[in-house]
Symmetry: C2
DNA sequence: CCATTAACGACTTTATGTATCCATAATAAC
DNA sequence: GTTATTATGGATACATAAAGTCGTTAATGG
């Protein structure tokens, strides 16, 4: 079980958008160059972020992407869910009569991780980077 | 990102071993029947559990598997690690000069989940099932 | 010896992630 | 309006991992 590289790229792309000049769109070509990944591949992830309502896109000259919400309101979990989906990490495939106690435990554990990721905003990282 | 079905099977198999008669080995054929999975496939996971030191195996007639440790000392995390491995869920593939702050956040989040799974023992579930 | 049972390796199949290419649509600048 | 720019979408190829099967070997009890 691993987070996909796509999630890695999306998180880094969002961090770049946060630290970019406000309201000035950033093109996928620039982002792709900074991350060392192809434009066409990265654009798929950007499209997912758009559909999740995290960023806004603008076509045409001087177009690109910019944040849709305040940066304090965009959590790690938002980004991860946009790329990976929101399905549970664990689903019991054993056919027992009752509810699966094992699944309850693992899902509860997953909830612990998600709470942590929900409380972490990319704005937190942006602050850290400025003081370095 | 998902936990593999193999992990699901392993967790259920361990739960069966905990609730079985102590010190009497349980064969893979019986376990496989209860879980609705083939013997040969399940035996791969059982072998991993043996190598992880969670259970003991005995070949030959009346052989099978039984717990190696006390059931209060076998956690969900032990079983999951035995099947999935212990590698981190997230590894940054972007080439920046410094340490990856994003990776730190996600790894910390993962640690939250692991702590929860470490504190949950299969003995806890066994108790629950007896009272039902 | 014989039946039973775990362990191991080779293999097939299927699904998912990674990545590229090309066509299309929308917008801004001229 | 024309052109350059930029995002979006579909098709496709490739690599990797998961899911599952089969046959063989090895060890043990009766």
């Amino acid at each position: 079980m691993k987070y996909s590289q796509a999630t890695d790229y999306a998180l880094h792309a969002m961090l770049h958008l946060v630290t970019a000049v406000p309201n000035k769109p950033v093109g996928v070509q620039l982002l792709a160059e900074k991350l060392g990944v192809s434009q066409t591949y990265l654009s798929k992830m950007m499209t997912k972020l758009v559909k999740a309502g995290l960023i806004q896109s603008a076509p045409g000259a001087n177009g690109g992407y910019r944040l849709r919400r305040k940066q304090e309101e965009i959590s790690f979990l938002d980004i991860i869910h946009a790329i990976e989906g929101t399905a549970s990490l664990f689903e019991c495939s054993v056919n027992h009569g009752s509810e699966c106690l094992i699944q309850q435990v693992v899902v509860d554990a997953e909830r612990q991780m998600e709470q942590y990721l929900e409380n972490k905003k990319i704005a937190d990282l942006a602050k850290l980077m400025k003081t370095e």
